[in-house]
């Protein structure tokens, strides 16, 4: 769809007009993520076209974005979630990458806003399907949503070859002895 139509503008509208239209629409549809995405995409497209249509500009934008995202990450790790959130909010919508949505989700997750966090993780994973970090975050939420809280069964923890009692060892030795005897040898001479 024509990005200008989405924003309700005539093709070739000025920079200021586009920005005003975007703000107007964003306020109208603030509660509707699907519409919001549409508007964001239209705005991005127009801005990028105006910048010359090349990919060099968005590339540098992205680089700029990721520098401050590193800062956001550091703040989150230091536990200063509110500061991280205001940094994220200060970033213009056009620069919001998959990582931005992931970090926003992390901040919301810390604050206990789980539904919004789930939405942002979803979006990050959707924008960059190859990224393991985003996918893991999304999948953990999905699993918790369907299963709730489950502690691991302590009986199942030691399952497998780690579980080896004295009885197991004796019966193992006996077995090995039988096998050896079948082949003509002997492992335990006394039996």
């Amino acid at each position: 769809m024509n990005p200008y139509e989405v924003l309700g503008l005539a093709p070739g509208a000025s920079d200021a007009q586009v920005r005003a239209a975007y703000k107007e629409k964003a306020r109208l549809f603030a509660d509707d993520p699907a519409q919001m995405r549409e508007i964001d995409r239209a705005y991005d497209e127009i801005v990028m076209n105006q910048m010359g249509g090349g990919y060099s500009q968005p590339q540098s934008d992205y680089a700029q974005g990721s520098v401050s995202l590193g800062e956001v990450r550091a703040k989150i790790n230091a536990g200063r979630v509110d500061e991280a959130d205001s940094l994220l909010e200060a970033m213009p919508v056009t620069l919001r990458s998959a990582e931005w949505y992931y970090l926003k989700g992390t901040v919301q997750h810390r604050k206990g806003w789980l539904e919004d966090a789930a939405e942002n993780f979803d979006r990050a994973a959707q924008m960059e399907p190859g990224n393991g970090e985003y996918r893991r975050a999304r999948d953990t939420i999905r699993q918790n949503r369907s299963a709730g809280y489950r502690t691991e069964d302590p009986n199942k923890k030691n399952d497998g070859c780690l579980n080896c009692s004295a009885c197991d060892m004796c019966s193992g030795l006996l077995c090995a002895d039988c096998c050896c005897e079948c082949m003509g040898g002997d492992l335990i001479p006394c039996c």
Binding site: D31, G79, Q108, H109, G112, W113, L114, E115, D116, A118, I141, N144, R145, S146, A147, G148, Y149, R150, T151
Partner: protein, 282 residues
Amino acid sequence: MFGYVKAYKPELKCKDFDVYQGVYCSLCRRLGRDYGLLARLTLNYDFALLALARLSAAEECCGFEASRCSFNPTKKCLNCTGGAEHLAFAAAAAMIMCYYKVLDNIADERSWFKRLLFYLIKPYFSLKRKQAMKKFSQIDEVIAEVMRQQTQTERSRTASIDAAAHPSALAMSRLLTLEMKTEKSETLERFGYLVGRWVYLIDALDDCEKDRVSGSYNVFNLKFEKEEEKKEYAAGAIRLTAAELGECFEALQPKRFGAILENIIQFGMENTLQKVLKEESK
């Protein structure tokens, strides 16, 4: 909104059940001693959890002694010998909460008869609230502020589940951490936040049908039209909260009562959710 957070008895060890009931009984006793016989009737499991969680994070252990229930003298129960300040805190919180609940009901109730009833009991709770405020004035500040936020969010009719649950979540978080001296206050804060959020969400799910008929604000009704979708989504949001709460509980590593809290989170909450879901489909 009361009485959703309960332990699931079949999965609880006898010794833990005795302790759980002991805390419940002690809180009941405390309510009776501080606020009179009638106040005991307001007791519910949500405030037992508040007392339990605060006691579990407290520095010194409250001891228990065997005693008898004055309502049912043939029944023996445990009674806390220590931790009086936490029990008094939970009792005060219960009284203040009840007062605001009555105010809320007066504002929401449509039938004039029920409203009259609430008007009649209001002076009683108002008195009890004043008594509670003498000792714990911060509780009243916290709850008054939260109630104001709650009204605001309800008026704004937000469709965001997180925004709708925020005031209640905040209330529980503050109630749990007020005057608590612990090195893990941040984890405790989150624990409280998630408990409050869980209670809000399950209450919203429980009231879905009622609110749909009366046209009151309910975040789940706002978001979904179809009954099935709504229930599935709500159950998911509630389970997700419980799962996060479980992780938070693991990080909390409470000094005591761990088994009871774990039982509540792992089985009790799921059990309540199942019950509410079943009721809704009737």
